[in-house]
Assembly symmetry: C2
Homo-oligomer: 469 residues x 2
């Protein structure tokens, strides 16, 4: 998809003017229209150009969100929910202008139910804030997409990350949520029971809807006990294929691996440029196990045996926290390390997800494509789920490089789809992948459109995303 | 809710006559209108009166389902998907007549992807058939609602059962599905990737929609490796409260219990009438662990220590298959055993689910209510999830007894809802619980109605269920 394919959303100047007046009067200093504030709220962490909203409002309660949405709906003005702005596919852009609804002042932890292993938070609480808040409870919220994203944003984009293989994604970890719908009504999708067969699963419908069906104003999340013990380590493999075979065997044996991250040879080179890592520039798996002392030792030993069977290893593991932290810091710094491969460049981060049986093939074809296209583009993957990321390093001021990167992303998406996979495992559709949704899901997209029309007939909720009209 | 509250669905005689003609001509012996066949397809396993369809059709392909649905939609005739008829809330009744679409001849396993731990099946495959088919692969499908239900029906009702605490419900275990929508289009909701952030989660929208939004014609399900070792046993407790405290502690410690079933004192009496069980007539937990040899031993020991801490035990456990099978057979026969408490009676089976912190209180109040109302009604619970069942034994020919049982169920549902729980953890809404959905979810039900209207404007898909008009 080329940038020119970004669907325009027609500006409704009269409506926008009316809403600017209403919100200015109602919210005072909590409504801002300065240029830098507006641009900051359309800032995306990729190359997609900034499309700023006309104003930014900072509500503090569900009722205030309702007021804002009602005004926007009445005047047919876009309203775009904003968490921390760390999404990667242009989710917070305002292609038709309108209002950015910043949830950062809705940042209270409303209740921790330790016996039920759940917590209810406002959407602006970030995952690191939540875990800091929980520190004394022995509980934690595991989902970790890398960035210190807001939990509302993570739910809205169905985020996941390194330990989804063990704990699931936001899909599995949101128990219930309250959302303001396009007509201004506030609905709560479920009670706190761990399971329910009562009616349509509106929780899962809103999780991943990217602010196009409703604006999340509170969420109830599952929590987990902090594991008694953690073991982990790094293991080199002669090839991506060998590493993937080891992953498949690990999952098939039911070893409850908590993280299993593939780093390809080029990415290893970058990590070594950035950290002091004693591993060769060959594909590696970063692995972690959570459980009892004996459990994590047993699991690490079993994984080590599997690794050797597939030509990898030796797997040196540790349950010493400092040593594990050093290894994982190297892995978590992959983005910054990658920039060292081409100083001055910026990275286009994209992700796909395929059935794990096709993963080695998909990565091999992608590496060949990278070589053939002359790109510098390291790969890391949450391979237990079949999910991997490519970071294309490019000069964002060179249209030819952007066009080449987009061509590459297009081929990658279509390759993943052809392998019975998805054009995005965790980044979402936003603007950047809207052109691929129909390739992936065909007529199911018509059903999505019918739902969008039914729930947001005036197309005010984050228009131009997922399903541009 | 009284029976009189069952919403009528107006019969469209002309449309029904037209569709009977069309299907008779098209499907020959695969379309039946005999009375016993029709009544059998409205048979419900509870006391809700039979409301028979006008005909029963046995399609064999998605395309045939599309033909049937198109004919029904054109002539505004209800079409009710039928699996094995083991649902408990009147899901397969035909209050406005119409066509029962029996999926039993769509019973092929389409593909097993062992490396990906998934399988794609037609909806008429039952869970026991699937596990028999998988026997040589080392894999299994864990969800076990008791009955040998069809997998299509289990998805449609968001079924779960004894081991949901470990493996989740159908919500977590359906990766993708193909469904025929009200307009006759067939949509596939997702690819086989383990996770995806691509668009609205139509998979989860259809799972639990009870045939009111689409008719499932194939499903891709997650599989699991058969555990290397299983341990389990039974543990008595002085009270339901003590047992629930032990369950909470077990879950909080992160012990990955595979099943943890509460049986109350009256239910234990029934089990002892039916089997040779050496346990007192006091509340018991039936517990099972899946994992490695050392893992399951460690987990059983840890659970035993917790049980003693809460006044229970001793917990005698075994990893010998025959002994475990005998114990679980006693538990699985709970329904039949219960009938021995009142020979000649039939059982009204109902379920609710609450946050686990409220479970002991909810069961205690329910036991008090049972005593006060003079009912005979044993309780079993999937207590790791906060889910429990009450079987009210009654003379279904005595309207006063039915009224009393319904009053009890109403109070139970409202009690669960007041405790931040749900009126059904796994049985679904159907007809029997339609009166409680709005109490539980308030204005969220309006959102459900908007979706139903958008996707099934003529209300042909299982009308009168979940959201009676």
């Amino acid at each position: 998809m080329a940038l020119s394919d970004l669907k325009a959303v027609k500006r409704n100047e009269a409506g926008i003017a009316a809403v600017l007046g209403i919100l200015g009067q109602r919210f005072g200093e909590r409504f801002q229209t300065g240029q830098s504030m507006r641009e900051q709220h359309a800032h995306t962490t990729t190359y997609i150009p900034t499309q700023a909203p006309d104003g930014v409002v900072f509500p503090q309660t569900t009722e205030e969100v309702q007021e804002i949405v009602r005004a926007c709906n009445e005047h047919r003005v876009p309203v775009i929910a904003f968490g921390t702005g760390t999404s990667l596919e242009g989710h917070v852009n305002a292609p038709g202008g309108g209002i950015s609804l910043d949830t950062s002042r809705m940042n209270r932890v409303l209740s921790v139910n330790a016996e039920d292993l759940d917590v209810t938070v406002e959407p602006g609480v970030t995952r690191e804030d939540l875990n800091a808040y929980l520190r004394d409870t022995g509980l934690f919220f595991p989902i970790d997409p890398g960035a210190n994203a807001s939990l509302g944003g993570m739910a809205a984009t169905r985020a996941s990350g390194t330990n989804a293989v063990r704990y699931g994604t936001m899909r599995e970890n949101v128990l219930a949520l309250t959302a303001v719908m396009a007509d201004g009504s506030a609905v709560t999708t479920a009670k706190r029971a761990k399971k329910s067969a009562a009616g349509y699963d509106l929780t899962r419908l809103l999780v991943g809807s990217e602010g196009t069906l409703g604006i999340i104003t509170s969420l109830t999340l599952k929590l987990y006990g902090i594991p008694q013990a953690i073991s982990g380590g790094v293991c080199s493999f002669p090839s991506v294929d060998a590493a993937c075979q080891a992953v498949i065997a690990t999952i098939q044996m039911g070893i409850p691996v908590a993280r299993i991250e593939l780093v390809n040879a080029l990415q290893m080179r970058a990590l070594k440029l950035n950290s002091n890592l004693d591993y060769p520039e060959s594909p590696c798996l970063f692995v972690e196990f959570h459980g009892s002392e004996t459990g994590v030792a047993e699991q690490a030993e079993m994984f080590g045996e599997i690794a050797v069977e597939y030509g990898g290893g030796p797997f040196s593991w540790t349950s010493v926290a400092e040593e594990r932290t050093r290894l994982w810091k190297a892995r978590h710094d992959a983005y910054w390390a990658s920039l060292l491969l081409r100083p001055g460049a910026r990275g286009l981060s994209t992700d796909v997800c395929v059935p794990i049986s096709r993963l080695a093939e998909c990565i091999a074809e992608t590496e060949a494509d990278i070589a053939e296209m002359g790109l510098i583009a390291p790969i890391v993957g949450h391979v237990g789920d079949g999910n991997f990321h490519v970071l294309v390093l490019m000069d964002v001021n060179d249209p030819a490089e952007i066009a080449l990167a987009e061509k590459f992303v297009g081929r990658l998406n279509m390759r993943a789809i052809a392998m019975d996979g998805t054009c995005t495992g965790e980044h979402g559709i936003g603007q950047g992948k809207a052109g691929f949704l129909e390739h992936e899901l065909g007529s199911a997209v018509d059903v999505m459109r019918a739902i969008k029309r039914a729930l947001d007939p005036n197309d005010i909720l984050n228009p131009g995303k997922i399903l541009p009209r």
